[in-house]
């Protein structure tokens, strides 16, 4: 209630004239892009809250235009005339299209109009929008909004927006205040605004430079953390892709060239789950979490079939297994291509995996990458737990250490082999679920990861999950640190060459399994 009151007080001197100006501005929304943008600006400047639903409708493609020029607005199934509010027939009306220029104007106008919205999320977005549109007229609005705002994160944004708007003011003192406020931030956008102002305000150059230097100090720290995060994120992807391999290759000594295809099957399972659950209201939002067990089962089943059907005939001949699984991988890939089509499949991200999260110091991390990082560590934890604390894990370790004695102890080694391979393949499937969130879901998905995965496992030390973790994270971070200097490709080449030299120094990897048995 108080908001509305303030709003009315604020708008009181305008309302008399605004009545006509509002109606005058409306038809412009149905014109060309330039007219639309101009009309939007006028509506935003008027500050009339009636414009909000109309502009929202334009932004969402719900504003229609009849051939005679009448504008209609659609809310759910209801269609009304914009000018009169009367119900109308949408027949023959086309939705109005907008372009980036209009979208930009809309953002500014809607921002101004919703600075006093009761919803804090809307106010935050409004502050962000006003920050970007920055004009002198926004200063009083922002000051009024700041006076009332209680939430600190919204206040922060509003202050930034106010500072940015002040930079557009002709008043020297306001500009100084703006510069000082912007200089306190660690925002790259603020830096951009200051740089822009520097060109037009030679008198303030000294202050602006100081403010930029102060931002730069914070930005350096921020970038360092962001690079670290990006490296860890790349590492987590490598970890996920390599973890299954660490089990099948590291523990069993089987070189599975079809590993990438199991990852791909996991990604396709995610797609199938999404399509299957699309029309089930309660389950649809859960399709991604539900895909994790589904992908595990699908890939594990394929893995078990591959092990029982083919690989077990080749134990003790790792190189032959390599060739065999290469052939199997070719067939799986082509089967998926014929079954699902060669085109990419769309796996959408749930809302909680979209956008960025701001951490302290202004460090920005993308939600999906953060989740994948957490997820990869969780999968690693579960894998370690399964190997260390379950009966199956115990048998698996026993078979790894000495197959014949384990067999003599009554362990059914064949069953353990099948389960281990299924387990490793299942983890590959889980990796596919995560990769569906950042990469193409296409038949070629797995091919891109297979070599990196092998490198991670060998670098970390075959048979050591801790080695896989450290190996993956090291490779990720080193890669990301090199990237800005060497470029994406050379960074990768350097890392590969470095690994080759490393393996030459330590043939058994970072975390070598210690044993007394000599080879052969």
């Amino acid at each position: 209630m108080r908001f509305l009151l303030v709003l009315l007080l604020l708008l009181a001197p305008l309302t008399g004239r605004a009545q006509d100006a509002f109606s005058d501005a409306l038809p412009g929304l149905g014109g060309g892009f330039a007219q639309q943008a101009e009309a939007t600006d006028r509506l935003g400047a008027l500050g009339d809250p009636r414009a909000v639903p109309i502009l929202r409708a334009l932004s969402d493609g719900r504003l229609l235009k009849r051939p005679d020029g009448t504008l209609l607005i659609r809310e759910g199934d209801r269609v009304t005339e914009v000018a009169t509010g009367a119900a109308a027939d949408p027949a023959g009306a086309e939705p109005l299209r907008i372009n980036n220029r209009v979208r930009q104007a809309l953002r500014g106008a809607l921002g101004r109009l919703s600075l006093v919205s009761p919803d804090p999320a809307e106010r935050l977005a409004a502050a962000e929008a006003v920050f970007r549109s920055r004009s002198v007229e926004n200063i009083p609005l922002l000051e009024a909004a700041l006076a009332r705002e209680t939430l600190s994160r919204v206040r922060e944004r509003l202050e930034l927006a106010l500072a940015a708007s002040r930079m557009a003011s002709p008043d020297e003192a306001a500009k100084r205040a703006g510069i000082a406020a912007l200089g306190e931030t660690s925002s790259a956008e603020a830096r951009g605004i200051l740089l822009e102002a520097r060109a037009t305000n030679p008198a303030l150059a000294g202050e602006i430079d100081a403010a930029i230097a102060s931002i730069d100090r914070r930005l350096t720290i921020r970038h360092a953390f962001e690079t670290l995060f990006q490296g860890l994120s790349l590492g987590s992807v490598l970890l996920l892709a390599a973890l299954g391999l660490a089990v099948t290759f590291g523990v069993m000594g089987v070189i599975n060239m079809a590993h990438g295809e199991f990852v791909m099957l996991g990604a396709y399972t995610t797609f199938v789950m999404q399509e299957a659950l699309r029309d089930i209201p309660g389950l649809a939002p859960w399709s991604l979490p539900l895909s994790v067990p589904a992908a595990f089962l699908v890939a594990a089943a394929c893995g078990a079939a591959l092990e029982r059907g083919l690989i077990r005939h080749l134990y003790g001949r790792p190189l032959e297994t390599l060739l065999l699984t290469f052939g199997v991988g070719m067939m799986i890939q082509q089967a998926v291509r014929l079954g699902f089509g060669a085109q990419n499949r769309e796996v959408s991200s749930p809302p909680w995996m979209q956008g960025t999260l701001e951490l302290p110091l202004g460090v920005m991390v993308t939600q999906n990458r953060l989740w994948i990082l957490v997820f990869s560590l969780a999968v690693l934890g579960l894998t370690v737990a399964a190997i260390r604390f379950t009966r199956f894990g115990l048998e698996m370790r026993a078979v790894t250490q000495n197959r014949r004695i384990a067999s003599a102890m009554g362990i059914r080694t064949g069953r353990v082999d099948a389960l281990t391979f299924a387990f490793g393949s299942g983890i590959a499937g889980i990796a596919g679920v995560a990769l569906s969130q950042i990469d193409n879901v296409s038949p070629n998905l797995g091919t891109g990861y297979i070599i990196d995965s092998f490198m991670v496992v060998v670098f970390g030390g075959v048979g050591s999950l801790a080695g896989t973790l450290v190996g993956a994270m090291t490779l990720g971070v080193v890669n990301k640190m090199l990237e800005p200097f060497a470029g994406v490709v050379l960074a990768k080449v350097f890392v590969l060459v470095a690994i080759m030299f490393f393996i030459q120094r330590r043939p058994r990897g970072l975390f070598a399994l210690k044993g007394r048995a000599a080879e052969q």
Partner: protein
């Protein structure tokens, strides 16, 4: 087949046995079918883009046959799989021309595949219709290019970005996959931007490998580049597979089209079908055709395609339209020349006009390229493009760009 042939085949110890089988020459009766070679990768990395083009050619063959064929003869497609392997492209091209004796070939997507088959088509005097936008700087008497040359796509798109409607960009980021099309296009664009007063300090250029999937660092650097106080736009020549992760990262790092619009030259309806487009609304693509074009020819094309593929939701895209247009021009030329002989058809194709689905009448020019309209579309939430700008008339192709200085002393072939 004669007896000695059999003996010889037996003597080959079975090596080429299977190969020679299709080599039996058809009797040149009037009823012999006209053979259409289809040289698109059906497996490997390029299958993702090229299978749709294979289907387009097959659709056209079926359609033409339903209209009674050509010159009273039936059309027959010969499909091979060059498997995204460039030397295999050359081998398959030779096989199509020498073993299957095709009258015309539709094929290739990547420039390298075209460069690989070009000597074969020239040596054996074949005819290839190449349907994809490319970097230009090439001309062959045996190839007809039905996709865009740089002046029909890249330059108008950048002009749009710099215009008031496009946001008035003053700083340009050139992102591309590291191969010849992005390299050449960006070189042309740099020349163009410099001529428009945008200096090299305001241009950022970065290349990534094929299928690049980790865009975090680059998108962060683009953001930093954009925050230097001038309106910035991205020009993307990122190829196929790498686009999905790129756009996901763009969306997740909150780069909105209103702030940093990104115009792409290799992203069409097919690519968008694999992406959730809601965070990308407003980003742009420049092509010579969009599925959302309103024209009778386009309605016919779309209906034909969706009926053929038996999926009312399958999309069409620019290279498919270029294949369709190329096929129709070839059919018109054959009808006009009253023969499928390559030399006769070559002269008769030039000057052919066709009311293309793009809504304009396109014409085959003497430089073996088409005159085409240029369109800029904004991505919509439904995965289609909203056409925000187009040229009033068709633009003739300049395959030798005026912005590459070396073209001044080029040898005219």
């Amino acid at each position: 087949m004669t007896r000695p042939t059999l003996t010889r085949r037996a003597a080959l110890a079975g090596l080429g046995a299977a190969l020679t089988a299709p080599a039996i020459r058809p009797s040149m009766a009037q009823s012999a079918p006209i053979k259409i070679g289809v040289l698109h990768s059906l497996s490997g990395t390029m299958a993702i883009s090229e299978t749709a083009l294979r289907d387009t050619v097959l659709m056209m063959v079926e359609y033409q046959n339903s209209k009674g064929g050509l010159l009273g003869r039936r059309l027959e497609a010969v499909v091979v799989d060059p498997a995204s392997n460039w030397p295999l492209f050359a081998e398959k091209a030779r096989e199509l021309l020498q073993v299957h004796k095709v009258d015309v070939t539709f094929g290739c997507w990547t420039s390298v595949s075209r460069k690989s088959v070009l000597p074969v088509f020239e040596e054996l005097n074949g005819m290839l219709f190449y349907p994809v936008q490319y970097e230009g700087e090439e001309e062959s008497r045996n190839i007809f290019y039905t996709g865009a040359a740089p002046n029909q796509q890249a330059i108008p798109a950048v002009e749009y970005l710099m215009s008031a409607d496009g946001g008035g960009a003053q700083r340009i980021v050139l992102l591309g996959t590291d191969y010849v099309y992005p390299r050449t296009t960006n070189r042309i664009l740099r020349g163009f931007l410099n001529s428009k007063g945008i200096g090299n300090a305001d241009i950022m250029e970065e290349y990534t490998p094929f299928g690049h999937s980790d865009w975090q660092g680059i998108v962060t650097r683009v953001k930093a580049f954009a925050n230097q106080g001038k309106k910035t736009a991205i020009v993307s020549t990122i190829n196929g597979d790498a686009n999905v992760p790129f756009y996901r990262e763009l969306g997740n790092q909150g780069i909105k089209a209103e702030d940093i619009p990104c115009v792409a030259f290799s992203v069409g309806e097919e690519e968008l079908a694999g992406i959730d487009t809601r965070p990308l609304v407003g980003h742009l693509a420049a092509w010579n055709y969009f599925m959302s074009v309103q024209s009778p020819a386009n309605t016919e094309f779309k209906n034909l395609w969706q009926a053929y593929i038996k999926n009312p939701r399958r999309v069409t895209n620019d290279p498919m339209e270029a294949t369709y247009t190329g096929f129709n021009m070839w059919a018109q030329a054959v009808a006009a020349a009253r023969t499928t002989a390559v030399d006769a058809v070559r002269t008769s194709v030039i000057g052919q006009e066709f009311a293309a689905p793009a809504g304009y009448t396109e014409k085959m020019l003497p430089n073996h390229h088409l005159s085409k309209p240029v369109m800029i579309g904004e991505v919509q939430a439904d995965g289609q493009f909203n056409i925000v700008w187009k040229t009033p008339t068709v633009v003739p192709a300049e395959n030798w760009s005026q912005f590459i200085p070396e073209n001044a002393n080029r040898r005219r072939g």
